[in-house]
């Protein structure tokens, strides 16, 4: 069974966590040498993404997306961040705010595998189904 990129990333992350700068640089170089020899040399970006993901996981940090039709007040955004923290159990939430006219009103919050759909667009869809039946 060959080692996957994810496993290399995990190995690198765990080794470099407690190392000083010089040793860490050596580890990174060695990792890239290994990847090159396995023909995975071009996958640097994926390795980086995976290491970031592991770091986020370890620090209890998650990224979330907030879609709304209009800009929301700071107060509201903070409340949403708090809700996401409670639901996901994460310590820190990096919130990406997106303005999306298709939402019509309300919000759609997505983090990890979960999507919380509290948008007007979906409510209208539900209403259409209700009337059809």
């Amino acid at each position: 069974m060959s080692t996957t990129l994810r496993q290399y990333a995990r190995a690198l992350y765990e080794i470099t966590r407690d190392q000083d700068k010089a040793a860490a640089k050596k580890s990174v170089d060695r990792t890239f040498e290994l990847l090159q020899s396995k023909g995975l040399g071009a996958k640097g970006a994926e390795l980086l993404a995976e290491v970031e993901r592991l770091d986020n996981e370890a620090q209890g940090r998650i990224t979330a997306t907030l879609r709304s039709a209009h800009r929301l007040d700071e107060e509201v955004v903070e409340k949403i961040e708090k809700m996401i923290r409670q639901r996901s159990g994460a310590k820190e939430v990096v919130l990406d705010k997106v303005i999306d006219k298709d939402v019509l009103g309300g919000i759609i919050v997505s983090y990890g595998d979960t999507i919380l759909d509290m948008s007007l667009a979906t409510t209208v869809d539900q209403l259409v189904e209700e009337i059809k039946n």
């Binding site: 994810r6 595998d113 999507i115 759909d117 509290m118 539900q126 209700e130």
Partner: protein
């Protein structure tokens, strides 16, 4: 015009007054790759085994089932819409393990393995949703099999009797009458307080259409459901079809009813499972089947059982069908299913082409429940038949040498020939048990010894017609009592003598 507009607005306001929008929370993933009916999905970290997934496509959502739960991705089989699912499409977990609609509304309908009607007779109002996969009832909840399942086929009811709650395998090469036995059994369940389910797995749709027409003609659709996963359906539907049929049967079992379920056939089912397993990259074993192909059939057939009184007293009788290649009963799948079932009915090509139809080899066929599943009358007359059939087969080899045989051997041979003639039976013509008992009694009591062998068939149909017309109360008494006594036997004797009097041979 504005009055109409106001009216419409009022109507709409009323309609939506009770509407309460709900915030939806859903677990999603993305399709990484899709092909050959299999989709690999990332995300979905809390999905369960066999959970139903919805793939969002431009033309609506396509259903799939999660079958491979990996560390980084989930392998799912698509239940249709292969060309519509794209890489990168959103996949939502429904939270429901694969389930099908069940209930009395399914009786008389033709459905696909997901419970959707395909007979054009409108939608089905299901009583409940039952999970497709279920753990079979345990030892304590069961009772041993002691009620007969009358197939209406003389050879089977006499020598290889089947009981309610038994699993009896029908095995043979192609075109020997395996499905015919199953259909005749279904037709014979009219008035027997049984529900029937016919699961067609990978069958030609033309064949199923013929079967449906026959069932309708015989009035069997009043108590039969057909679950169809035809030859052109995708492998996942073929894989789920028998389990879906069993779930529908379990609804009636839970109501304390008796159900007969026919799986036609499990060889195609194993092939469909092999296809899915290979596409999911599960390691192939013997004959390229995955390692758990035994479990595939054992968990299906163990759900056929007889429950004791405390659990309703219902039963599911299973008649799985296996098609062998060139009579090879020792191949992988046939031997697997033989070891799971409570007996088998072997159909042989040699017998078929000699004109012995149904082409049942009584020597190799077995019913492990045996005479416990026969009414007393049948036990009395048919007890010796199996032995006599076996002895006849041994002697028939000597018959080729012609004349130099003693009287006893000749008598045995003559009796044996008549026995085989009596066992011959046409298709779609099941015989009620009372008439079977009378025919076997006539044979074993020597009343048929004077009838020429080639006239036995004619004699039998004529005698049965005679009994139904002039002695129907005798048949009714026998059916009601289920046992023979001297009085009934004497009545038979006089009836058969009356009938013989009308013949000219």
């Amino acid at each position: 015009m504005s009055k109409t507009k106001d009216f419409i607005i009022e109507q709409i306001k009323e309609r939506i007054a009770d509407f309460k929008p709900s915030a939806k929370e859903k677990t999603v993933g993305r399709v990484i790759s899709v092909g050959d009916g299999i989709a690999v999905v990332s995300g979905l970290s809390v999905v369960q085994m066999s959970e139903m997934l919805e793939f969002k496509t431009e033309s609506g959502s396509v259903l799939g089932v999660a079958l491979n739960l990996g560390e980084e991705s989930v392998g799912a089989v698509l239940l249709g819409g292969f060309t519509e699912v794209r890489e990168g499409a959103e996949v939502e977990a429904t939270g429901r393990i694969l389930e099908v609609p069940v209930g009395p509304a399914l009786v008389g309908r033709v459905v696909n393995p997901l419970g959707n009607p395909i007979d054009g007779k409108g939608s089905i109002a299901a009583a409940a949703q039952y999970p497709v996969e279920k753990i079979a009832p345990g030892v304590i909840t069961r009772q041993s099999v002691d009620q007969p399942l009358q197939t209406g086929i003389k050879a089977i009811d006499a020598m290889i009797p089947i009981g309610r709650g038994q699993r009896e395998l029908i095995i043979g090469d192609r075109q020997l009458g395996k499905t015919a036995i199953a259909i005749d059994t279904i037709i014979n369940q009219k008035g027997q307080n049984m529900k029937c389910i016919y699961v067609a797995i990978g069958q030609k749709e033309s064949k199923v259409a013929t079967i449906l027409a026959k069932l309708e003609e015989a009035g069997a659709l009043d108590y039969t459901t057909v679950v169809l996963a035809g030859a052109s359906d995708p492998a996942p539907l073929l894989y789920f079809a028998p389990y879906a049929g069993c779930a529908m049967a379990e609804y009636f079992l839970d109501q304390g009813e008796d159900v007969l379920i026919v799986y036609d056939d499990l060889s195609k089912h194993a092939v469909a499972y092999r296809e899915i397993a290979l596409l999911l990259r599960r390691p192939p074993g013997r004959e390229a089947y995955p390692g758990d192909v035994f479990y595939l059939h054992s968990r299906l057939l163990e759900r056929a059982c007889r429950l004791n009184k405390d659990y309703g007293g219902g039963s599911i009788t299973a008649l799985p069908i296996i098609e062998t290649q060139a009579g090879d009963n020792s191949a992988y799948i046939p031997t697997n299913v033989i070891s799971i079932t409570d007996g088998q009915i072997y159909l042989e090509p040699d017998l078929f082409y000699q004109g012995v139809r149904p082409a049942i080899n009584a020597g190799l066929s077995v019913s492990r429940v045996g005479s416990t599943a026969q009414i007393k009358a049948m036990k009395k007359v048919a007890g010796q038949l199996r032995l006599e059939a076996a002895q006849y087969r041994e002697l028939a080899a000597f018959a080729q040498f012609g004349s130099d045989l003693d009287a006893e051997t000749t008598a045995k041979l003559e009796r044996g020939r008549r026995l085989f003639e009596v066992f011959k039976q046409g298709q779609y013509a099941p015989v009620p048990v009372a008439e079977q008992v009378i025919m076997f009694w006539a044979l074993t009591s020597g009343n048929l010894d004077g009838v020429p062998v080639d006239k036995i068939g004619e004699f039998e149909s004529g005698f049965r017609h005679f009994l139904n017309v002039s002695h129907s109360e005798l048949l009714a008494t026998l059916s009601a009592q289920g046992a023979l006594n001297d009085e009934i036997i004497a009545s038979f004797q006089s009836a058969i003598e009356d009938y013989k009097g009308t013949l000219n041979y």
